[in-house]
Symmetry: C2
């Protein structure tokens, strides 16, 4: 198997550090991106706390300090023929697919954003599968899904890695089925649609696919992005793209209260961005474990916390107060999340725990706040009721 | 509830007779269509056996002989803003959604057709849901699904109407879940994706949705289309758009063998086109039975036959010989299909049975064959292996 990996969406929050991490491990990386996340910042008035360098600077610096990384501009939704020619020319053994609009709040802003999210994410995923079924059916797709495909239904017990053991009542037949989809936003819905596309392409053409259901990512730096300010990753703290822990950090450093949506009893799974990059590498290295005809699904998570537990951790470290506000999201007030992540642990993933590493993150971000923090952005989540 | 019904895809094979049927029952009908089926005929070199009159002639004749029918050109995938303004202006109580590329073989021809089918069907369905969530959440969507979403998995027993009673093994929790999707083509896959979109919009905004999983349609005429040649419905007999019974009829009338794919042991569900129109009317009239938050799913089928049983019926009526050919489709050689259709029977549907009515269909089509039958079209199905 060759060491060429194409990273769709390789300019984004997970895509960029993953590209660097794989390059650091000897892979030849072709980043394919339409730079849409940069445009969304302009349109939505959001801004990464860390300054993001121009894509050409990023690539130049990565080639100097890390390894073999290059870039091709392509919109995988709108330009499927270019995607095909990039795949045919580069001949990767693995394509990592991050090229989706990844914010749940963004996908719930209005009709235009709902439609953009569905059009972009579904056609992008399908264009990739369709291209591979023609060009080279041995290419392994590694796709970033989300824990949100499972919903938060306590009654089904420990969330398995993608497939649920059931008994069909009328026949007493035992079966393993794709976990019933239960998305909580248009964004999460697109990841549920992706699953059915993958299932069909795996079944009909035997395409090798790994779908990674990731928890909420936290953390500002990875071993590779820390090497130079030009390699810095995004740090979003706004109500649209900022995940909950980043928002708390931003609030704590600016003498704001930590705003907890609803009761704070929502339990969610988390993972550090460094572990995200480890997981993608592990998934890439273990393509031999994908059973022909069936998508391999792995839960890319390391820890579970309730939103209130997170707020208390940050409060204890920083002295910030906690404030409860109405939940803009249409979700259960409380849930009890248990989730299996054995596959990654078996493959040697070393979880980077929140209680051990949060302080580093806080320290790193302090320096950035003075110039670029914008108060008004923290509470700008749309309502989805 | 007003009697205004918008029919998306109302120029097509199911849409046109349904529009006439509803108009005949006193509904005010606005057909919304991009006339794509006419263009596909030109592109694919297919042709309806029955001549199809110009859309303006169709509408004029329908207004004279049937009832209140009008037409607006709109591509519900590519022009969501026009769709929104049509809905806002017309203010229907029901929108019947047929506006999807509906041929499984067409969806499997090549990359271009796979992408067209996904782009067209998914964005069309989602644009509609997104529009309704903004404009008027009380509008009832009646959507044509397909029995193909269930796949043909004997082990799960009688196919229920959309929801399967299961027990989750690890918790012993009993639950009713959306029947696990098991599509057999890109086309069928899009109807599985539609289901997840509907599920989310029903859950998050309480949109009233009825999804009708229809069997294979047969039959050349309905009570309304028979009234004038200008109102005639399509009759496709080619390997791409022609369903199995239509192909057998066309073959029998031209002294060809009836070509059975594979073993002929594939059992499938069927319904006459007249019953299709009855079912859509029943679904429209019973929107009060839709439980808020949950999509109502009904199986729109009346009978089950194996492909070989169908061939034998046609052979007996016409004297044509049966010939087995390699199956171009990637499907089980045999299956045993049992399917529940109690909801429509409870609402008074009178099944139009094949053994009682096939001869009428044969007689009607005879007159059309001399001029328009094209030998080469019957066996032009693409392979999906």
């Amino acid at each position: 198997m060759n060491k060429r990996v194409m990273v769709l969406g390789g300019d984004g929050f997970c895509g960029w550090p993953t590209s660097l991490h794989l390059a650091n491990h000897g892979y030849e990386i072709l980043i394919v991106d339409n730079l849409s996340r940069r445009r969304i910042d302009e349109e939505a008035g959001t801004l990464s706390l860390t300054p993001i360098s121009h894509i050409d600077e990023r690539i130049e610096c990565a080639r100097k300090l890390i390894g073999n990384v290059s870039f091709s501009y392509c919109d995988v939704n709108k330009d499927p023929l270019k995607l095909r020619s990039l795949i045919s020319d580069f001949r990767p053994s693995t394509i990592v697919h991050f090229a989706e609009q990844r914010s749940a709040p963004y996908s719930m802003i209005d009709d235009d954003k709902r439609r953009f999210t569905v059009d972009n994410n579904i056609n992008g995923t399908h264009n990739l599968c369709s291209a591979i079924s023609d060009i080279d059916q041995s290419i392994h797709i590694v796709h970033l899904g989300t824990m949100g495909v499972y919903g938060y239904n306590d009654a089904f017990g420990i969330i398995p890695e993608g497939y649920l053991d059931i008994t069909v009542n009328q026949t007493s037949e035992k079966s393993k089925i794709l976990y019933p989809a239960n998305p909580g936003s248009v964004y999460h819905m697109t990841k549920c649609l992706d699953q059915i596309i993958f299932q069909f392409y795996a079944k009909n053409w035997g395409i090798k696919i790994t779908d990674l259901h990731q928890g909420i990512v936290w953390g500002a730096v990875t071993e590779e992005t820390i090497k130079d300010p030009i390699l810095a990753n995004r740090f979003d703290y706004d109500g649209i793209y900022g995940t909950v822990l980043n928002r708390f950090i931003a609030q704590s450093q600016n003498n704001h209260n930590l705003t907890v949506y609803g009761t704070g009893g929502q339990q969610r799974a988390f993972i550090h961005i460094q572990n995200t990059t480890d997981c993608i590498r592990i998934a890439t290295e273990t393509s031999g474990n994908v059973t022909p005809g069936q998508v391999r699904i792995m839960n890319q998570v390391t820890e579970v916390f309730s939103v209130m537990e997170l707020a208390k951790i940050v409060s204890k470290l920083t002295g910030a107060n906690i404030e409860m506000i109405d939940n803009p999201r249409n979700e259960l007030a409380d849930n009890n999340l248990m989730v299996s992540n054995e596959q990654f642990l078996d493959h040697g993933l070393k979880p980077k725990k929140l209680n051990d590493h949060l302080l580093e993150d806080l320290m790193f971000t302090v320096s950035c706040f003075e110039e670029r923090f914008d108060d008004a952005k923290v509470l700008n989540s749309p309502s989805w009721r």
